[in-house]
């Protein structure tokens, strides 16, 4: 399938151009390229250990993995030259897969912290209007929120910033079906806002419901890049890379 990898086009809203990244000596992201149009939602899929989290972390300019080669460009800005906080300042927001909130602070304080660095996005009023559950709990310690509420807070915090590219790492992981539906509803609203998004999800069907396009990673390389419908229709593809 590797012939399907497109040549990077620097005119795209967001592009990842032949990135290679390492955790110490281990070579994990081994030359990934793709591009995303503005307002597009892309599902980044693949088996466990395929390198999905590592790719998101590389884009968000986390300390690890270390980007050795390649370019990452958002809206003409060279992300590959930036550090994590600078990437966040120009609009990249990673909602990581582990505990997503800032401990020792309340719900509202998490939002205050998100707006220390400029530029900022939604006001608290807008956030609380869209997340009534958070409004009720604004004075609550964020670590005492349920898993689903923490996920909401993580998405809300991303919206509190001037958001250009949203990176969601397994937003449904470990949540009860009823909570998954609530997060889904929120993400559908985010989609209506036209925020460019990459969503990584074990639950490929759920991710493909939301996404316009799908990229499948396999051992640190792009194995497929096409429409979400194509993945849903192609049984072999699903069996080979997604086990669904």
């Amino acid at each position: 399938m590797s012939e399907m990898i497109q040549k990077p086009d620097s005119n795209a809203f967001f592009s990842v151009q032949d990135i290679h990244s390492y955790y110490g000596e281990s070579y994990i992201v081994q030359g990934v390229s793709f591009e995303i149009a503005e307002r597009e939602i892309v599902a980044l899929l693949g088996r466990n250990g395929a390198g999905k989290t590592s790719t998101l972390r590389t884009i968000a300019r986390a300390h690890e993995p270390f980007l050795k080669k390649g370019k990452i460009v958002l809206n003409g800005m060279p992300l590959h030259q930036l550090e994590a906080h600078q990437a966040a300042q120009i609009g990249v927001q990673l909602v990581p897969e582990d505990r997503r909130i800032i401990g020792g602070a309340t719900v509202e304080e998490n939002l205050i912290l998100a707006q220390i660095a400029k530029p900022i996005g939604w006001s608290f009023e807008q956030i609380y209007e869209h997340f009534p559950r958070l409004a009720e709990r604004r004075k609550q310690q964020a670590t005492t929120l349920s898993g689903g509420e923490q996920q909401m807070l993580a998405v809300a915090r991303a919206l509190a910033r001037d958001l250009k590219l949203l990176l969601l790492d397994e937003p449904y992981e470990g949540l009860a079906p009823i909570i998954v539906r609530e997060i889904e509803r929120i993400l559908l609203e985010v989609k209506k806002l036209g925020i460019t998004t990459i969503i990584v999800e074990q639950n490929a069907v759920a991710a493909l419901k939301l996404a316009d396009r799908a990229i499948i990673l396999d051992t640190g390389l792009v194995a497929f890049d096409g429409s979400a419908q194509e993945v849903l229709d192609n049984k072999e593809l699903r069996e080979e890379y997604l086990a669904i």
Partner: protein
């Protein structure tokens, strides 16, 4: 309530306690002059708390206290007895040192940071008593300083006390403003959430340095005032013991509470100077036992003890 909010009340009460300190302190057995020393150490400890809230435990803050003390002393000795220039030079020189040392040590966390600050602190102490001994007076300290003056007025006795008291009140007001602002919230969050803060656009390294420098400015002001209080610079100002005393005061009083470290400073100086009259050389042993008891049974220090007592009292009165 209008303009009379809790903050105003706290600050007013605090200012009144500080300003009336010399009047009631003598009834507690304290000698004249010890009150000023307590105020100076309170400034030192208060600033240190602004660093401690970030989770970085420095064992080298004597450096900023001592550098400022030496710079102030040298200015008084060679330039003018006027304290304005001497204090400004003391604080500026010390702050420059803090920017450099902060930059070098804050790349590490936990014990590595603490050991690095300790090493830098000792480096300054060693330098002061060896290669710079011509300038600093070596092991004897810097002696022969003139009585400091402010606008021609001699800075002695209660003049010095009120000068220090004003610095402490302003310092407390600023520290309170800082800890209650988003900036302060972020400093507190640095302790456990550095990567997460980076993901929301916060330049963690820069803010860690800010907290370090801020606390060093308080240390520098305290060091400078110490020389104005007693026109002499002791080598021990730069020594690790001074840093250690600062840490012990903060832990005994209650880290991260602003009030706590100041109370810890008052307690320790009082204990050292008053209780030692009865306990003689044993006072250090008594202090050590108390310190251990606090760490084990009251990790939040005196402030935590006070809060627990109040809670207990409220419960009893409700029953």
């Amino acid at each position: 309530m209008g303009i009379i909010n809790r903050g105003t009340i706290h600050l007013t009460v605090f200012a009144l306690i500080v300003l009336t300190f010399p009047f009631w302190f003598e009834y507690t057995g304290g000698y004249a002059g010890l009150d000023t020393k307590i105020i100076i150490w309170a400034i030192f400890a208060l600033g240190f708390d602004l660093l401690l809230i970030t989770g970085y435990l420095s064992f080298g803050h004597a450096a900023f206290f001592g550098i400022s003390a030496y710079a102030t002393g040298l200015m008084l000795l060679h330039y003018s007895s006027n304290i304005i220039e001497a204090m400004i030079v003391g604080v500026v020189v010390s702050t420059i040192a803090a920017v450099i040392i902060g930059f070098l040590t804050l790349r590490r966390t936990g014990i590595y940071f603490s050991v690095l600050t300790l090493a830098f602190g000792e480096m300054f102490h060693t330098a002061a008593v060896s290669i710079f001994s011509g300038l600093t007076g070596g092991e004897n300290g810097l002696t022969g300083l003139p009585t400091p003056t402010l606008f021609g007025e001699k800075m002695q006795g209660s003049n010095v006390f009120y000068l220090c008291a004003i610095f402490l009140i302003i310092g407390f007001y600023l520290a309170r403003r800082i800890t209650r602002s988003p900036f302060g919230l972020m400093l507190k969050s640095l302790k456990s959430n550095q990567t997460r803060l980076e993901y929301i656009g916060i330049n963690v390294q820069f803010y860690k340095n800010s907290a370090f420098v801020l606390s060093s400015i308080y240390a520098a002001v305290a060091g400078s005032l110490m020389v104005i209080y007693e026109p002499y610079v002791a080598t021990e100002f730069l020594e690790w013991k001074t840093s250690g005393t600062l840490v012990i005061m903060s832990v005994m009083g209650g880290v991260g509470t602003l009030f706590g470290p100041m109370i810890g400073a008052a307690f320790m100086l009082y204990f050292e100077n008053v209780a030692s009259v009865f306990l003689e050389e044993q006072w250090l042993l008594a202090l050590g036992i108390m310190f251990m008891a606090i760490v084990v049974y009251l990790p939040g220090g005196f402030v935590d003890g006070y809060k627990r007592m109040m809670r207990h009292w409220v419960k009893k009165n409700q029953a």
